[in-house]
Amino acid sequence: MISRVAESCFWLHRYVERAENTARLLRVNRSFILDVSLPVGDRWAPAVIVAGEQDRLPEVLSPEAVDDGELVQDYMTWNDNNPVSLLNSIRWARENARTIREVISLEMWEAVNELWHWLQRGPGRRMYSGDRDAFYARIKAFAALFYGVCDNTLLREQPFDFMRLGMLLERTGQIARIIDVKHHAIGPTALDDTDSAIASAQWLALLRSCSATEVYFKRVRESPKGATVLPFLVLEDGFPRSIVHCLARAWEFMQRIR
């Protein structure tokens, strides 16, 4: 296939995965800070650090903005100066999709095109203001539809291989960053068996950020703590959102491409 097209396939999926992760992260963080009372500085800063925006956000908005949940969410969702904002991820997903129309199926294109127009033209903003949770859920639903259509309509050829590779690498990076940040936030007692209420809630939130809550409890019959959650998210090959699983599948796709 055309090299440039392969690159677009790769990035299309990276951007979709990125958008979904952003939505999930913000949604989980919202409910998390309602469960646990944290110092103001610890509420939203971790989410900004996961996104890698800890330097740019204070510049674009203000140094205090990182403590304001509404400002952070707005920045992470809509801000044009934020290269990893949800809006920009969808924008670039769509631009990549547009240049490889001949490779993706019509339904994949329509899914991302529809979401873009929904975000750009007002209905998205209204839901964001009126029902924040539903807004983030919509992004998640879009990703599910997008991957579902991709899996169910595309020929298993190189374009598909590059797409999955992109998605898996992005997912790996996102998981690693989420773990890393939460690890710092939770502190050096990470791997202790410390069962404090806050620590427990934070581990639970970490699991939710990775959509791993129910599968964790199925597999590990202990309450979440460092010693059980981290190995699960890193090493559990049977879990599609573990680092090992993603890297192993990414490696398989790279072999196929070769």
Partner: protein
Amino acid sequence: MAKSGPPQAQSQSVRESRPLFAGYAPPAGTYDEVFLPSGEPRPGVGLAVELLAELGRARFVRLQRLADATLLKGGITFSVYAQNRGDVERVFPFDMIPRTVSAGDWAVIERGLIQRVTAINAFLSDIYGEQRILDEGRIPRELVDSSAGYLARLRGVRPPGGVRVHIAGIDLIRAPSGEFLVLEDNVRTPSGVSYVLENRSVMKRAVSGVFAGATVRAVDRYPDKLRKALDSLAPDRLAGDGQPGRMPRLVVLTPGRFNSAYFEHSFLARRMGCDLVEASDLFVHDDRVWVKTTAGPQPVAVIYRRTDDEFIDPEVFRADSLLGVRGLVRAYARGNVTLANALGNGVADDKAIYPFVPEMIRFYLDEDPILGQVETYSCEDDRQRTHVLDHLDRMVVKAVDASGGYGMLMGPTASRAERAEFAERIRKNPRGYIAQPRVELSTCPTWIDGVVEPRRVDLRPYVVTGADGTWVLPGGLTRVALTAGSYVVNSSQGGGSKDTWVLGDES
């Protein structure tokens, strides 16, 4: 033919839909595509009216909205250069009332188009070869030499199969007499066929019932026919890539996603099952064209290129072009790659050459032209220019190498200042302009804000030529001037389109 009862039942259904058409009044002296001056539908083309009668007004409105949403969702858009807003993509407005052409009318059009494209191909071969038609004085030599589209350096280069116009878009209008006339030829990079295919798709989804009963000729063979034609003209020595059983590689070359017709480039590549490439994906080595793939460079045999001559090779033409492939002309001159359409076709759709096409038909084919043309004045000729300048208020003046409705003066509706300004342009560059008395284009019922009104239309059929001959897509793009009183149908000037129905044989 649609299931029609005895004449009485038919007029009854027309009467039932009459409220939609009440007050429908085409301008005097104009041929209306659907209605006779008496107000009755023309026999044989009342399908559109029956369609509306069947649907009823409310349902029709819903279907129009559905069509618009489908087109937006599918990204079936074009970009407008003149407008300067953030969102540059626009859906090409689609009107759900189709335009119908009878089988009899179409038979004449088809023969006329094949004749015309054959003659133009012969002209181009001659101009870039022996130039017999110039030697015999049938066309003034200076006219060809001074044409911006004439590439003298390519004289002597014969493309594979001798075909230069692989795809032609010939614009037709219907005069008040009902006769179809050729308004203009487009043999460089004619566009619009993707809208023909997508419009038909939308119509079928919306009004499948009507299609079931009618014999409207299908349009979806176009990509297949085009692919076969292009494959048939691959350079001999590259056929098969040297590998037995392997098809020569065909690509569609696009200037990129910011080009106004990008959707169409992508659409055709998809439907033909070949790669869509940009200039940066290609390179020339050893006077052959290669494409960068994940399996390394691969040879390219045929390029359906939608990039203009001017930008296509910075080594030979515009050096600042980022849309071109350095060395492409070398590869082409050596016969190592087929370009569709060939380089240098601009001389044939130069509007100053257009008046001579009937001459080409007589000279190369020894036949009389089947399709007439619009009376045209060449501003370069002193006597004709004087006539044009004296009657500017009645003329449509066009720049000879323009397209898309740009560079045009609509004399009858222009202001004095606009006419004066154009008169100056003509005097400064007489070779650059032609003028035609404004023709009363035919009108067609069109849905305008909930009311059916007459709007002027033209027709652009598409003609494909391969090694085995020439094929005409049944129908083509009917463009409609959506603004009341307008004669300008181009998308960039606020036009829209309709589905075009060519009826099958009555049997």
